[in-house]
């Protein structure tokens, strides 16, 4: 009686043993590594690009490099943002993914006190909320300070409030208006 149970048991244990070698998780790479944010300021035919770049990403251990933004005083610029993953070859452009999921994403721009920068959104998502991939920038008199660029991931709760959701990008650039 118990012998047959033992045999049944050993068969079951062999089966689960086999299962443990065959049933494994899919090897997907879920982390969308964002390594680079490019700020392209266009005035007439001149394009000035300032960037943050951290090739080894969030957990790489090395801090990224960040440019200082220099802009002309009393000028108007168009600002286009580019978000890239440069850790892979070919370089992956994440900008379009943000555009595809625009209803859940918004860029916010926070100039420090005294920095003479005014930003207005020049794009809009399906729900009529701004995205911030394309913007109009106007500068005032000579000044310096910081400009915070904050991309918020706000699934289902995007309503223009910067305080909700999760920061996918949060960078503060030292900025000089000259």
């Amino acid at each position: 009686m118990y012998l047959s149970k033992l045999i049944a048991l050993s068969i079951i244990s062999c089966m689960v043993g086999l299962m443990s070698y065959s049933c494994r998780p899919k090897q997907t790479n879920p982390e969308e590594l964002i390594t680079t944010l490019k700020l392209n300021f266009t005035k007439g035919s001149i394009v000035k690009t300032f960037q943050f770049k951290d090739i080894d990403g969030l957990s790489g251990g090395n801090s990224g490099t960040i440019d200082t933004i220099y802009l002309d005083s009393n000028s108007s610029y168009q600002l286009n943002l580019e978000v890239l993953n440069e850790s892979d070859y070919p370089v992956e452009d994440i900008t379009n993914e943000i555009r595809d999921e625009a209803v859940d994403h918004q860029f916010f721009f926070n100039p420090s006190m005294g920095l003479t920068i005014t930003q207005t959104y020049a794009d809009i998502d399906a729900n009529g909320h701004p995205i911030g991939l394309t913007n109009n920038i106007s500068t005032g008199s000579i000044s310096s300070g910081t400009l915070r660029v904050n991309l918020k991931h706000q699934p289902g709760i995007k309503d223009g409030n910067q305080n909700t959701g999760e920061s996918d990008i949060d960078l503060t650039f030292y900025t000089v208006i000259r």
């Binding site: 043993g17 443990s20 090897q27 790479n29 969030l58 999760e166 949060d170």
Partner: protein
């Protein structure tokens, strides 16, 4: 051990020889009275021999001897105040050894709520135990909440649904959980992974805080939690239980069904099937709902026990499934997100009540299959062989850039095979008992996605030997254990690697207990044990969502060595007065912990504080006190106090994430209202938790929460029906009666959310008997 064994064999042979030459009327029967399920000795059972009109009392170790009897047929009536009476027909014509197996009465479990294990097992230890009645009161709760009933057990929570025990200030890998004899392995997945246990399956839960865990593991530096299922039926028939629970704070509803029995045709075979379903929605704090905090739990269990005079085979399978929403407000990007969330009066991401679980969410599955074979080899030796297979699976779903929410963003699969063998030797004459055994574990951990736990294989083997001598009022115990373990890391974040580690260590302990009088005893235990660094501590590297921090492993970590000591005093006058005082000190060299680096790391997602795994020498000192006083006329007062200090001897500061001082008082009153209603009891509870102000400001992301006081109410009763049926029991309670707004230091969501508000909960248990 070997000596004792050969001595035992010799003695046995000697007895046998003498018996061969005995006369007709000077034969004797001797043996032990044992509890059928646990095979533990039962003290002072009475044995009545009808044909001789003689009665004999077994001694405190269950040993009995009936001398000077003639050959023939006899009827033995065995009775014991704790057990079901039994009648045995026996024929003999020579001296025999005959063990009597009795079954515990069920209602015995209701007699006392919290009791020291000493009386049952006479071990030297400082363990505490929860019995069926306490477990029923917690139906629908998780293991952490249940264990909080015991003095000295705190919980560490990740929001509402995830709760795990903290014992002597330690948790996760330093607290070993055994469910039905099998060690739960998923605890390696970190502080936010709760033990996968349906508490409805538990019949008895024991917590050990000392060094007495060496039979099971050398890693239980903090403590050991032992969960045992209720005993299976040992008389023919079919019984069932329907248990329901409901709670208002998250509109939780649960139903648990149990069916068990023994068929007349197969009296040696007992079985049980059990299922449990719980649904809960968003939890309400005093002023708002926590968005996406619902959960669904579905469990199933099957037990089978086949019993013959010399051996027993237990088979069981348990399945646990939890689908859990992750509070939307806990998904934060970086330190400034965390500070915004912390300073907001209410979470900015709000919702009303709903049951639906959206991303971010987790799906946890756990399967355990267990086979246990016990064999009585001789009067001196019992053997127990166990095999366990476990499969843990956890999937995390989140809405992230460029990925469908239907696919998990990370998955962990852990396969564990454990094989254990234990021999127990017993010499009744000298009250000497010993165990010799082997534990082995083989594991494969696979990680899909970019989580910071590596994929690895590990193998470990441990050999232990435990000795115990009882001498009048004294009990002496010593144990020694040697372990060797191997670890191969084969993948970190989709990158193949080949790292190998190997550890060897010895653990041991000695203990002395003295029974001062019938009610009180004092015991001292000293020991040393160790644990090897876990793959997470060695190789983690990544962002920890929910705490907005980067955790970095350290491959040069050495093994932890702990020196444990404790003094315990117990006074137990049955259900009247009860005092348990436990004082402990645990010195741990190379204690592994997360230390914040001074400089935050600037990433594209903003600034993150960096926590590195480091080692230090730490000292944990604490005391747990429980007392209950019967004031007569149905009034009863009880109090639990626990206090722990964990000091970092190198950095010269207190370790963070250690429970602050807490005290719980209860006044209860038993009202006699009707002869059919038993135990109608009402009680008021007051819980005070102090502010944890031992840590320095730079050790915490935000200030630790204020002290708080909570008021609770509970009442329970049981309704007697016909004589054969077990009573229906009803338990009603109110938690946080004043609807206080508070945050708890041991909750990892204390940065973003308040604790739940007022909660009404009701549990009903209806036992069924089928004819």
């Amino acid at each position: 051990m070997q000596k004792a064994f050969s001595l035992s064999c010799l003695l046995f042979f000697f007895h046998y020889m003498i018996a061969q030459h005995s006369g007709q009327c000077d034969l004797h029967i001797e043996g032990e009275v044992l509890e059928k399920e646990s095979m533990h000795p039962i003290d002072f059972a009475s044995i009545y021999i009808a044909e001789m009109n003689r009665s004999i009392l077994a001694d405190e170790n269950g040993f009995y001897k009936i001398p000077d009897i003639c050959a023939g047929n006899y009827t033995l009536y065995i009775s014991h105040y704790d057990c079901m009476p039994d009648t045995i027909q026996i024929h003999f014509d020579k001296d025999i050894h005959f063990d009597i197996l009795l079954k515990h009465k069920n209602h015995m479990l209701d007699a006392v709520e919290i009791k020291d294990k000493r009386k049952e097992e006479k071990l030297i230890n400082n363990q505490n135990i929860l019995l069926e009645k306490e477990i029923d009161k917690n139906a629908g709760n998780n293991l952490g909440t249940l264990l909080k009933e015991l003095p000295g057990v705190n919980t560490m929570n990740t929001g509402v649904g995830i709760s795990k025990p903290v014992i002597t200030g330690m948790h996760s890998i330093r607290v070993v959980t055994l469910n039905d004899g099998i060690r739960l392995e998923g605890q390696q997945w970190g502080a936010e992974h709760a033990p996968e246990i349906d508490i409805n399956t538990a019949g008895e839960v024991t917590v050990e805080k000392g060094a007495d865990a060496l039979q099971y593991s050398h890693e239980a530096i903090g403590g050991l939690v032992i969960i045992k299922p209720k005993s299976l039926m040992n008389t023919p028939g079919i019984k069932g239980v329907v248990a329901m629970n409901a709670a208002s704070v998250n509109a939780k509803g649960g139903i648990s069904l149990l069916l068990e029995g023994q068929f007349k045709k197969t009296p040696n075979w007992s079985w049980r099937i059990q299922s449990n379903t719980i649904r809960a929605g968003n939890t309400k704090t005093p002023s708002y709902y926590l968005k996406n905090t619902g959960f669904n739990e579905n469990d199933f269990a099957f037990y089978s026990s086949y019993f013959k005079s010399k051996w027993k085979l237990n088979l069981s399978y348990k399945f646990y499934n939890l689908k859990l929403g992750i509070f939307a407000g806990s998904q934060i990007g970086n330190l400034s997100d965390l500070l915004i969330a912390y300073h907001a009066d209410e979470p900015l991401d709000k919702d009303g009540f709903r049951y639906k679980i959206n991303a971010p969410k987790q799906n946890i599955e756990h399967h355990i299959a267990n086979a246990e074979f016990s064999l009585v080899l001789s009067t001196w030796i019992k053997m127990n062989v166990k095999y366990g297979f476990q499969f843990n699976k956890r999937q995390e779903f989140d809405k992230i850039l460029g990925r469908s929410v239907k696919d998990p963003i990370s998955e962990f699969y852990l396969y564990s095979n454990t094989a254990d063998i234990d021999w127990s030797f017993k010499n009744k004459k000298s009250n000497y008992k010993s165990n010799l055994g082997l534990n082995s574990t083989f594991q494969n951990n696979y990680v899909g996605g970019a989580y910071f736990i590596p994929s690895y294989n590990s193998q470990s083997v441990g050999l232990y030997s435990i000795h115990k001598i009882e001498e009048k009022k004294w009990v002496f115990q010593s144990s020694v254990r040697a372990d060797v373990s191997f670890l191969q890391i084969h993948q970190i974040k989709n990158k193949e690697v080949h790292y190998k580690h190997q550890w060897f260590g010895i653990a041991g302990n000695v203990g002395i207990a003295y029974h001062i009088d019938f009610h009180s005893s004092i015991s001292i235990s000293l020991g040393s044990t160790w644990r090897s660094p876990h793959p997470v501590e060695l190789y983690s590297n990544g962002v920890h969502h929910g705490t907005a921090s980067i955790e970095i492993g350290n491959t040069s970590l050495k093994k932890e060595r702990a020196y444990l000591s404790s003094i315990d005093y117990t006074y137990d006058e049955g259900s009247k007065h009860h005092v348990v005082i436990s004082i402990y000190n645990k010195y741990i060299s190379n204690y592994i912990y997360l230390q914040a680096k001074e400089k935050a790391q600037l990433t594209i997602r903003g600034a993150f504080p960096i926590f590195e795994y480091k080692q230090t020498n730490a000292n944990f000192t604490g005391a747990d006190i429980y007392y209950k006083i019967d004031l007569s006329k149905g009034f009863e007062v009880s109090q639990k106090i626990s206090l722990v200090y964990a000091y970092n001897l190198i950095e010269k500061n207190y370790l963070p994430f250690i429970p602050p001082f807490q005290s719980e008082s209860k006044v209860s009153y038993t009202i006699p209202i009707h002869k059919k209603v038993d135990d109608f009891k009402i009680g008021i509870l007051g819980t005070y938790v102090a502010k944890q102000n031992l840590t320095e400001y730079y050790q915490e992301l935000v200030e630790s929460p204020k002290a708080y006081f909570l008021l609770g109410f509970e009442s329970g009763l049981s309704i007697n029906r016909q004589k054969q049926s077990e009573p229906i029991s009803v338990f009603f309670s109110i938690q946080n009666m004043l609807n206080s707004k508070y945050r708890d230091y041991m909750n990892r969501w204390r940065y973003f959310a308040n604790e739940p508000g007022i909660n009404f909960s009701l549990k009903v248990k209806i036992p069924l008997t089928f004819k």
